[in-house]
C-alpha cells in the first residue's frame, strides 16, 4: 500500500532513463495547483498582478493568467498556501485546489516549440507566444493550458491537462518528439 500522503503521479508508465536532455519531457504534477476565480477588475486580480494571457513568478509561485477571470497558482505547497491566505476575497472569489484535477508536464529544449507544433495548432513563435505567455489549446486533441516559462534562457513550456488524460498526453508528446530525440526525464 502506498504511503498515506505520498502523491500518486498520473504518469504511471516507466521510461528508459538516460538519453539526451537537450529536449526533455518531465512530470510536475505533484506541484500544488490552486485555481483562483475572480472578476478581472477585482482586488484579487490586482494582487495577482497578471492578466489573461500572461504569467509571472512571485515568492515561489507561478501565477498564470489562464483564462479571463481565472488564475492558476503553481508552486510548492507552502508557498501556494501562503499566497492563498493573503488573497483579498472581496467580491465573488473562489479558490479551488486543482492539485489533483490537473496534471502538469514540462517540455524543455530549443526544439520544444517544434514538438508542440506537430500536435497543437497554435503559433509558438516569439511574437505570438513570448516567454511568460499563457494560453489554452488542444494538444493531440486534449484540452490543455500551456504557459511558456523559459528556464535560464532555454525555451520551456508548462502544459496542464485533466489528470485522467495525462498518461495519454505524455505519450503523445513523446511520440511527436521522436524525430527530435525527445526524452522523458524523471518519470
Amino acid at each position: 500500500m502506498a504511503n498515506a500522503l505520498e502523491f500518486e503521479s498520473p504518469i504511471t508508465k516507466r521510461y528508459p532513463s538516460g538519453g539526451s536532455r537537450d529536449l526533455a519531457l518531465s512530470d510536475e504534477s505533484s506541484q500544488t495547483k490552486t485555481l483562483v476565480r475572480a472578476a478581472d477588475d477585482s482586488a484579487a486580480a490586482s494582487q495577482l498582478g497578471v492578466a489573461f494571457g500572461g504569467s509571472r513568478h512571485q515568492a515561489g509561485v507561478h501565477i498564470i493568467g489562464q483564462r479571463p477571470t481565472e488564475w492558476l497558482l503553481v508552486g510548492d505547497e507552502s508557498a501556494a498556501a501562503a499566497m492563498v491566505v493573503g488573497l483579498d476575497r472581496t467580491g465573488h472569489v473562489s479558490v479551488i485546489d486543482h492539485t489533483h484535477a490537473r496534471a502538469l508536464l514540462r517540455l524543455t529544449g530549443e526544439r520544444s516549440a517544434d514538438v508542440l507544433s506537430k500536435i497543437c495548432n497554435v503559433d509558438f513563435g516569439d511574437h505570438m507566444t513570448p516567454d511568460g505567455s499563457a494560453l489554452s489549446a488542444s494538444v493531440a486533441k486534449v484540452g490543455c493550458d500551456i504557459t511558456r516559462d523559459d528556464a535560464s534562457g532555454i525555451r520551456s513550456y508548462r502544459i496542464a491537462c485533466d489528470r485522467s488524460f495525462a498518461q495519454y498526453l505524455f505519450d503523445a508528446i513523446l511520440d511527436a518528439g521522436r524525430e527530435f530525440s525527445l526524452t522523458a526525464v524523471g518519470a
Binding site: 489573461f52 483564462r67 479571463p68 495548432n121 494560453l135 489554452s136 489549446a137 488542444s138 484540452g143
Partner: protein
C-alpha cells in the same frame, strides 16, 4: 480552416470552437404560446448573408460570444460581443 475571432484569444481555428447557431432571443417560457416557443426552438432564419450567431471558445477562454458572419463568404464582421442569448438547443 476558418479563423474565428474570439474577443479574448484573438483569431483561432474554427475547430477550437463550438458553434452555437443563430442567436435568438429566448421568449418568456411563462407567456410564450406553443407556436412562439417552438418557433424559437426550431425555426431558422438561415440567410445567405450576414447572420448573427453564437460561438463558444471551447479550446481557449471558454467564453460564449456573438459575432456576425456572412454565410455566403464566411467573412466575419469585426467586434464580437461577449455573451448573447441562448441558442436553445443543448
Amino acid at each position: 480552416m476558418l479563423l474565428v475571432p474570439c474577443p479574448n484569444c484573438g483569431p483561432r481555428n474554427a475547430s477550437d470552437f463550438a458553434y452555437g447557431g443563430e442567436s435568438h432571443v429566448r421568449p418568456n417560457p411563462n407567456q410564450a404560446t406553443p407556436e412562439e416557443w417552438r418557433s424559437y426552438l426550431y425555426m431558422e432564419d438561415n440567410p445567405a448573408g450576414w447572420l448573427k450567431e453564437t460561438w463558444y471558445c471551447r479550446s481557449g477562454c471558454r467564453r460564449f460570444f456573438t459575432v456576425e458572419r456572412n454565410t455566403a463568404t464566411n467573412e466575419f464582421r469585426e467586434h464580437p460581443i461577449p455573451g448573447t442569448k441562448l441558442g436553445g438547443k443543448a
